[in-house]
Amino acid sequence: MTRALSPVIVGAGPAGIRAAEALVAAGLRPVLIDEAARGGGQIYRQPPDGGFTRPKTALYGTEAAKADAVHRALDRIRDRVDYRPRTLVWNCERGALDLLCDGVTDTIPYGPLILATGATDRVLPFPGWTLPGVFTLGGSQVALKFQGCAIGRRVAFLGTGPLLYLVACQYLKAGVEVAGVFDTTPQTVQARALPGMLRDPATLAKGLALVGWLRLHGVPVHHGIRPIAVEGEGRVRALRVRHGAGEIAVECDAVAFGLGLRSETQLADLAGCAFRFDPMDRAWLPVRDTAGRTSVPGLYIAGDGGGIAGADAAELAGERAARAALEDAGLPVDAARVAWLDRRLARVAAFRRALNAAFPFPQDWAATIPDDLMLCRCEGVSAGTLRGVGQRGEAREINRAKALTRVGMGRCQGRVCGAAAAELLAGALGVGPDAVGRLRAQPPIKPLPITATPVQEATP
């Protein structure tokens, strides 16, 4: 690889850091770009420099050792990578990335490109979801890990997925009262998924330990629920859910909710990657092989940005993608190590299927969303408005629905409402979410300040 082909990694979470580590070990000096001030990604997000007194064991709970290992890995290679923290990649255009750092834009060409862009929470709206005090699970975790605060004094946890239990435990450990954990998945479904999860007994044991620890501390854990509403005037006061034939109401001043994660794929889209519908993630994802190669030569995807598999898988996938990049550039790779990574990744894939069976997406939820409920907060589009263009035959595809209703056109560009919009439009048309397509990415992938100055014009 010549200097012009210097590899670029986007994202310094578990996948990006392990990818950088492997490239450095091969004698290269990759560019490592990350939005955060400190490495670790969302899952191992580090507190701001200085001022934080809680140790890693308190911040990350059961994940502390892994978080520490990933942080140390970055520390070790820091002087051998072109590390660019606090930097947003806002566009990908014809072989170059556009960056924004401290109000200054810069453009860097890339040779091999490894996208390790991670994921955000997948949410569906329900009555009261826009009340102040309702946060996503990931957002609740960021508050704890980065802002040193909780989203409330008495918090209810709603949704499904491993994060539901992990964040509830982290909150409990931080001294917050947990009003209850409300899992949309019935206990029978989770029990049926147990054998599959035995593929990774350590992770399964940890998951069961989380639930046990919550119960031990008197936290009610309910299964098979559906939300009715978050109640309150200008502020969360209570959460009401349907449970079997009955109803449960808990008083709380905050709600953390999420239905698993969704991949951040905009850069892959702008870079021209082919996508396919992944029934397990119920999302259109970049096509990639087990090593992370996409349809675009020289472009690799590692970690949750290409499909949700979690932090452990992300570490493996990051290293694997880096080794694929080395191999494709004609550099020597350690075949035994690659074979080991492939075996581990295959096990992860199997475990991921089991995990998905244990925390399935509640497919019936979207149909119950009332027409007058706000779906797209940025543009003020209700569920009924979106359903209407489907029912009247005006839009059979999500970008067309966007053009007619503005859904997904606002600040978040559909990153928050996109999954729900696809479910609602599909429901209105009587088809699966695969049939309505995916929102096309448009630059900037996150809002760009008008005052952003090109680096060549910025005064030193």
Binding site: E93, E394, A403, P443, L448
Partner: protein, 372 residues
């Protein structure tokens, strides 16, 4: 199993021109089939800036533009929606005394066309438009011009045509077009064959393919106007803004977002285009200079489209010179949105009467030297 449709008029291209032609032809009683490769109004007609402006057009376009102005006034009645159309006024800014002189000269030249232009300068300009920065020394206001949401207007014309009985087929590319006796034959894969006495070529940036199929190649170039929109801001601007000499344009939509345009995107392939990074950054700088209120805002989205441009920047509108009953309307060169509905109406007249009441001579297809 191929479906066969026989009709009076086949239209290729469901943009604002094809859609409005279908609508007016149905009102005259013709049977119409409209074929659109994508979704109707999803290309240049639906992703343009949204300016509904007569001011600044070459004089030869003004008769059509005036007729379009009347049609825009009837949108709710024609389409069942106002599509966020507002007669806010269009203000063309002068950044120098020389530019102001150009605006005054245009006002004089266009005096007979009913634009009611008003030149405002100096202190009167500052008092009237306090929101505009110091960059402008004055401007020319066309009070009845305005802006609309192109994503809503353009699909609505095709929808209104369908509601009046036109057959509208979206996601239907035309793979072959030929003559069989006195009929045009349009084929879309194995699925559809349309036979029609009259063919309207309203396929936008792709129209030259049909023109070429009938031995009428035209020098049409695809370009990609670059646009961006900010997050919603408090209302500070009603009028649609252009600048003498070009460069940047802007309008604030009722939701508060500021839509600005300037510069060019680039082609991904013949069918798709993307905004271009340097154009986006230049546009942000120029727009913030013109509209100080947006300086602290964010751009939330950029886009462009694929638009056909002719060498003289006037469209091609009128009968084919090689083939009877073939009519063209394309090459609007970035300014087809406002006059589109009047062009559709003129096409309908050409089909019915063989001539249009609007002068179209400047838009003849044979005005260009033959392309090799």
């Amino acid at each position: 199993m191929t479906e066969h449709i026989h009709c009076d008029v086949a239209i290729v291209g469901g943009g604002i021109v094809g859609g409005s032609a279908a609508l007016f032809l149905r009102e005259m009683g013709f049977s119409v089939t409209l074929l659109e490769r994508d979704w109707c109004g999803a290309k240049a007609s639906g992703v343009n800036f949204g300016g509904v402006r007569r001011q600044g057009r070459p004089l030869e376009q003004l008769p059509l533009s005036q007729r379009a102005h009347a049609i825009w006034g009837r949108l709710p009645e024609l389409l069942g929606t106002d599509a966020e159309y507002i007669r806010s006024g269009h203000l063309k800014l002068a950044r120098s005394e020389a530019d102001l002189d150009s605006l005054i000269a245009y006002k004089e030249r266009s005096a007979g066309f009913g634009l009611d232009l008003e030149i405002i300068a100096g202190d009167a300009f500052r008092r009237r438009f306090p929101a505009l920065g110091d960059r402008a020394v004055g401007g020319s206001l066309c009070p009845e011009d305005g802006h609309a949401n192109p994503r809503l207007v353009s699909p609505a014309f095709a929808r209104a045509a369908a509601a009046r009985g036109a057959i509208v087929r979206e996601q239907t590319p035309v793979d072959r077009v030929s003559r069989d006796g006195d009929r045009f034959v349009l084929v879309s894969g194995d699925a559809l064959e349309v036979r029609a006495r009259v063919l309207l070529n309203t396929a936008g940036a792709w129209s030259h393919r049909i023109a070429t199929a009938f031995d009428e190649p035209v020098p049409l170039e695809s370009l990609h106007p670059n646009m961006a929109v900010t997050e919603p801001l408090p209302r500070f601007l009603d009028v649609n803004i252009g600048v003498e000499g070009g460069g940047v344009y802007g309008r604030q939509v009722p939701r508060g977002n500021m839509v600005v345009g300037g510069g060019r995107g680039f082609a991904l392939d013949p069918d798709r285009a993307r905004p271009q990074r340097d154009a986006v950054l230049t546009l942000m700088r120029d727009a913030a200079e013109l509209f100080p209120q947006i300086a602290k805002a964010h751009v939330i989205r950029c886009w462009t489209g694929v638009e056909g441009y002719t060498p003289d920047r006037n469209p091609i509108i009128g009968p084919s010179r090689t083939t009877p009953n073939l009519f063209h309307a394309f090459g609007f060169s970035g300014a087809g949105f406002q006059i589109g509905p009047a062009v559709g109406e003129a096409l309908a007249e050409l089909v019915r009467d063989g001539r249009s009441t609007a002068p179209l001579d400047a838009f003849r297809i044979d005005r260009f030297p033959p392309t090799p």
